[in-house]
C-alpha cells in the first residue's frame, strides 16, 4: 500500500512539474483587449522574415506581465529567424536585475528601466545608446523627453506611460457623510475628513509600512506646495543633483506639516502604521476607508469590479486661494544597452517594436495614460479608464507641475526621505528635523560625485 502511495505521489509531482513547465496562456491577449491593426504588408512581412540574429532583452513583468509574453509571441511570429532571449525584471527594483548584468558585462540589447538618477548616471557613463530619432522618442511628451535625458544630454529611454498622483474617494460615503462636492483646497479637505469621521467612516487610508508610498503622496504634495508652488525653489532638484543643497530651511521644514495635522486629527485608518500599500488600496476598494492618495498607475487596483463606488480627483493640498499643483511621473521606460556584441540594427527593430509600433500591448493591459504628444494619432485604440482620463486631464491642465520625489531626489537622499517620512508618521521625528536626515545624505551623495 505504502509503495502504491509513494509511486502515486511521485507521479503526481512529475505531472505537476510538467504542467508547470507549460507556457502560461496570457490572461488577456491583445486581440481580446484591442482591435489589432495589422499594418504589415506582404512586402514588410517578407523583409521581416529575412532578418536574422540573436537578441537579449530584459523586460519588466510587474503591472502587466502578460505584455511581455504577448510581445515575445508577436515578435517571434514576425521575425521567425531572430532568436529572442527574454529575461524578466522586477519593476519595483530594476537594479537587482541590471546590476549583476553590468558587472558581468552582459547588458541586454533592450531593457526596462526606471526614471531615476542611477539610470541617468549609467547613460552618462556610456551604458545606454542614445535613442533620440526613434519614433517612440519623437512621439513622447516633452516632459518625458526631459526626464529621460541625462545631465550630459544622452536621450536614453522611451517611457511606457505618463502618470500622476490622485485622490481616490468613495462617492457613496461622501454622500452619506454630507460632503456635497469634492474638496478643491486644504480647508475643504479637512472639513471633508471631519465630516467623514463624524459619520463613522475612516477618512484616509495610509500605507504607513510602505515608505515609498508615503514618499510619493505626502512628500510629493509637501514639496509641490511649499517648495515649487510657493516659488521658493522650483528648480531645487537640479541644484541638489549638481552640488551643495541645504534641506534645513523653514520651507523644507514645513513640507510635512499637513501630514502631521491629518495624523493628529485621527484621520488615518486604524493600524495605518503597519499597513502596506496593497492593504491600503484593498481597504479603499472594499469600502472600509473613504479616501487614499495614490499614483494613477494604481487605478486598476482600486477601481475593482464589485468594489466600492470610487471617484478620482486632483489632490487638494493647496490653501484656499492658492493654485493646485499637478504631479508628473514618468512611466518606466525602455533603453538600449550598449555592449561589444550589440547588433544595433536588430536591437533598434525590437526597441521600436515595443516602444512605439506595438506599445498599445502594454498600454491596454496596464490601463495607463499613453505617453504620446498626440495619443489620438499615435495610439488610436488605446483603452483608458474614463474616470482616470478625466482626472488626468484635470491634473495635466494645472499650470504648476512638480516631480514625484523618487524621480526628483538622488537615490541616496531619497532613501533618507523614506526614513524621515516614516519617522514623522510614527511620531519619532518632527517635520522640522528634515535637515538632520537629508543633509548628511546629500553630503554622502556629493562624495560619490567627486570620485
Amino acid at each position: 500500500m505504502k509503495k502504491v502511495l509513494a509511486i502515486g505521489l511521485v507521479l503526481c509531482l512529475m505531472l505537476m512539474t510538467l504542467t508547470g513547465c507549460q507556457q502560461p496562456a496570457p490572461a488577456a491577449t491583445v486581440s481580446d483587449t484591442a482591435a489589432v491593426t495589422d499594418t504589415a504588408t506582404t512586402a514588410d512581412a517578407a523583409a521581416a522574415a529575412s532578418v536574422s540574429g540573436e537578441l537579449n532583452v530584459a523586460l519588466a513583468a510587474d503591472i502587466a506581465p502578460d505584455s511581455v509574453t504577448e510581445w515575445t509571441k508577436m515578435f517571434n511570429k514576425d521575425y521567425p529567424d531572430v532568436k529572442l532571449n527574454v529575461a524578466l525584471e522586477d519593476a519595483s527594483s530594476y537594479e537587482v536585475t541590471i546590476e549583476p548584468l553590468i558587472a558581468a558585462g552582459e547588458l541586454p540589447d533592450v531593457l526596462g528601466i526606471g526614471c531615476t538618477d542611477w539610470f541617468a548616471t549609467l547613460a552618462d557613463k556610456g551604458y545606454f545608446l542614445d535613442v533620440s530619432g526613434t519614433p517612440g522618442w519623437n512621439a513622447q511628451l516633452d516632459v518625458l523627453k526631459q526626464m529621460y535625458t541625462s545631465s550630459t544630454g544622452v536621450h536614453f529611454a522611451v517611457a511606457n506611460g505618463v502618470e500622476t498622483e490622485l485622490l481616490f474617494y468613495n462617492i457613496d460615503q461622501f454622500e452619506q457623510a454630507g460632503v456635497k462636492s469634492v474638496p478643491t483646497n486644504w480647508q475643504e479637505f479637512l472639513d471633508c475628513c471631519q465630516k467623514l469621521k463624524d459619520a463613522g467612516f475612516q477618512p484616509l487610508a495610509v500605507a504607513g509600512a510602505s515608505p515609498n508610498n508615503l514618499g510619493h503622496s505626502f512628500v510629493s504634495f509637501g514639496i509641490a506646495q511649499e517648495i515649487v508652488a510657493s516659488g521658493f525653489d522650483p528648480s531645487w532638484n537640479t541644484k541638489a543633483r549638481d552640488g551643495e543643497y541645504d534641506f534645513s530651511t523653514p520651507e523644507w521644514q514645513s513640507i510635512l506639516d499637513k501630514t502631521v495635522v491629518l495624523r493628529d486629527a485621527g484621520y488615518f485608518q486604524r493600524g495605518y502604521e503597519s499597513a502596506d500599500l496593497y492593504e491600503c488600496m484593498r481597504a479603499v476598494s472594499a469600502g472600509e476607508v473613504a479616501m487614499t492618495i495614490q499614483g494613477s498607475y494604481q487605478t486598476g487596483n482600486i477601481l475593482v469590479d464589485g468594489g466600492a463606488n470610487i471617484g478620482i480627483t486632483t489632490v487638494p493640498w493647496n490653501e484656499p486661494g492658492e493654485a493646485q499643483v499637478g504631479i508628473v511621473i514618468a512611466g518606466d521606460g525602455y533603453a538600449m544597452g550598449k555592449n561589444s556584441n550589440n547588433n544595433v540594427d536588430l536591437a533598434t527593430k525590437f526597441f521600436n517594436y515595443v516602444t512605439f509600433d506595438n506599445a498599445y500591448v502594454y498600454q491596454n493591459m496596464s490601463g495607463t495614460i499613453p505617453p504620446w504628444i498626440d495619443s489620438a494619432a499615435d495610439m488610436p485604440n488605446a483603452i483608458v479608464n474614463e474616470k482616470l482620463k478625466s482626472a488626468w486631464d484635470a491634473s495635466n491642465a494645472l499650470t504648476i507641475k512638480s516631480l514625484e520625489p523618487q524621480q526628483a531626489f538622488t537615490a541616496i537622499v531619497y532613501e533618507q526621505v523614506k526614513q524621515f517620512v516614516q519617522a514623522v508618521i510614527l511620531g519619532s521625528a518632527e517635520p522640522s528635523q528634515i535637515g538632520d536626515y537629508l543633509n548628511p545624505a546629500q553630503q554622502e551623495y556629493l562624495a560619490t560625485l567627486n570620485k
Partner: protein, 323 residues
C-alpha cells in the same frame, strides 16, 4: 636437519614476502590517499572559487570606491567604514541585529529542544507524521514565510489580532505587531523560529537517540522524575548538539534577510525592522553606495566570527568530557 642454505633461502623469501607486502600496503595507501584527494578536489575548488576568493575580494573592495559602473576601483582607506559608523541608523541596526540574535538563538534552541523531546517520546504510530509536520516549514521559501507571517500579524485582518479580539481585548488595545518599534524584532523572531525549529529539533532528536538507555534506567532506579531525568541526564548529553545549534542559529540570525525584508516591507517602519544583512542589501541596491554596503557585510562577517568564537569557547567547556 635442514641445511644452512635452506634456512637462508627461507629467511630471504620471508623477507621478500614482507617487503612485497609492505610495498603493496604502501602502494594502496598512496593510491587511496591520492584518490581521496582527487575526490575532494572538486569540492575544494568550488569552496575556494565561490566562498574563499569572493570573501577576500569583498574585504578588498570594502577599502575601495568600487562601483559597478566605474572603471577601476580606487583605494580609499577606511572611508567606507567611516561613512558606515557615522550613519544615523548604524546603532539602531546593530541593536536590532543583537536583539534578533538573542531572541532567535534563545527561543529557537528552547523550542527545538522541546520539539526534540516530543518527537523522541511520541509513539511510533504518529512519530513520522509529527516529524513531517514539524519539519514542513523548512520546505517553504523564506519570502513566502515572510508574507505569511505578515498576514498573521496584520493589524486589521491578522488571525493573532482576531484571536485577541475574540478573547475580549478592545480594538484600541490590539497591538500593531509590525508597526510598534518594540514589537517588530520579536515578531520577526517568532516567524524565524517557526521556520527553523523543525530542522534544529531533528538535530536534538538525533542527540537524544544517542544517549545510552542505561543512564535512564539508573535514574529511574534512583527514583528520578521526568523533569530530573531531563535536567540531569538528557540536557548534559545534549551539550554537543546545543553547541552546534547555537553557533548555527547565531550565524543564521546574522544573515537573516529574506524573512525580515518580506515581513516588514524592506525593514521598516523607519529602520526598526532592519538587520545588518538587510541594511547591506538596501545600501547596495537602493542607495547604490557599493563600498558602504560591502563594508557593512565585512562588519557582519567580523561579528559572526567573534560571536561564534565566544560561543564555542563557553559551550565547549560545558560539554561532558571537556569540563
Amino acid at each position: 636437519m635442514r641445511s644452512r642454505s635452506f634456512l637462508l633461502a627461507r629467511e630471504k623469501s620471508k623477507r621478500e614476502y614482507n617487503m612485497k607486502k609492505k610495498r603493496s600496503v604502501r602502494y594502496y595507501k598512496d593510491i587511496w590517499k591520492w584518490t581521496g584527494a582527487m575526490m575532494a578536489l572538486p569540492g575544494i575548488v568550488m569552496i575556494a572559487l565561490f566562498i574563499i576568493v569572493p570573501f577576500f575580494m569583498n574585504v578588498g573592495y570594502a577599502f575601495t570606491d568600487y562601483n559597478t559602473a566605474s572603471d577601476v576601483p580606487n583605494f580609499i582607506g577606511f572611508a567606507n567604514f567611516k561613512t558606515m559608523f557615522n550613519d544615523r541608523d548604524f546603532w539602531l541596526v546593530c541593536t536590532n541585529t543583537l536583539k534578533l540574535i538573542l531572541t532567535y538563538v534563545l527561543g529557537g534552541n528552547i523550542l527545538a529542544i522541546l520539539l526534540g523531546v516530543m518527537i523522541t517520546n511520541v509513539n511510533r504510530k504518529y512519530g513520522n507524521f509529527v516529524k513531517t509536520a514539524i519539519y514542513f516549514p523548512q520546505l517553504l521559501s523564506m519570502v513566502v514565510v515572510g508574507f505569511l507571517w505578515r498576514i498573521i500579524f496584520s493589524y486589521n485582518n491578522g488571525p493573532v489580532n482576531h484571536f485577541l479580539e475574540w478573547i475580549g481585548v478592545p480594538p484600541d488595545l490590539l497591538p500593531q505587531w509590525l508597526g510598534i518599534p518594540a514589537l517588530i524584532i520579536p515578531s520577526i523572531s517568532v516567524a524565524l523560529i517557526w521556520l527553523i525549529s523543525g530542522y534544529y529539533s531533528i538535530i536534538y532528536h538525533a542527540g537524544m537517540m544517542s544517549i545510552p538507555m542505561s543512564y535512564y534506567e539508573v535514574s529511574a532506579i534512583e527514583g528520578a522524575n521526568r523533569w530530573q531525568e531531563f535536567v540531569h541526564v538528557t540536557l548534559p548529553f545534549l551539550a554537543p548538539s546545543i553547541t552546534i545549534n547555537t553557533v548555527l542559529l547565531t550565524v543564521e540570525s546574522l544573515s537573516a534577510f529574506a524573512v525580515p525584508a518580506s515581513m516588514t516591507g524592506g525593514g521598516g517602519p523607519g529602520r526598526y525592522g532592519t538587520t545588518l544583512a538587510l541594511w547591506s542589501y538596501t545600501t547596495y541596491f537602493n542607495n547604490h553606495q557599493y563600498g558602504k554596503a560591502i563594508a557593512i557585510s565585512v562588519l557582519l562577517g567580523v561579528f559572526a566570527v567573534i560571536l561564534a568564537f565566544i560561543e564555542l569557547k563557553i559551550l565547549l567547556k560545558k560539554e561532558i568530557g571537556n569540563a
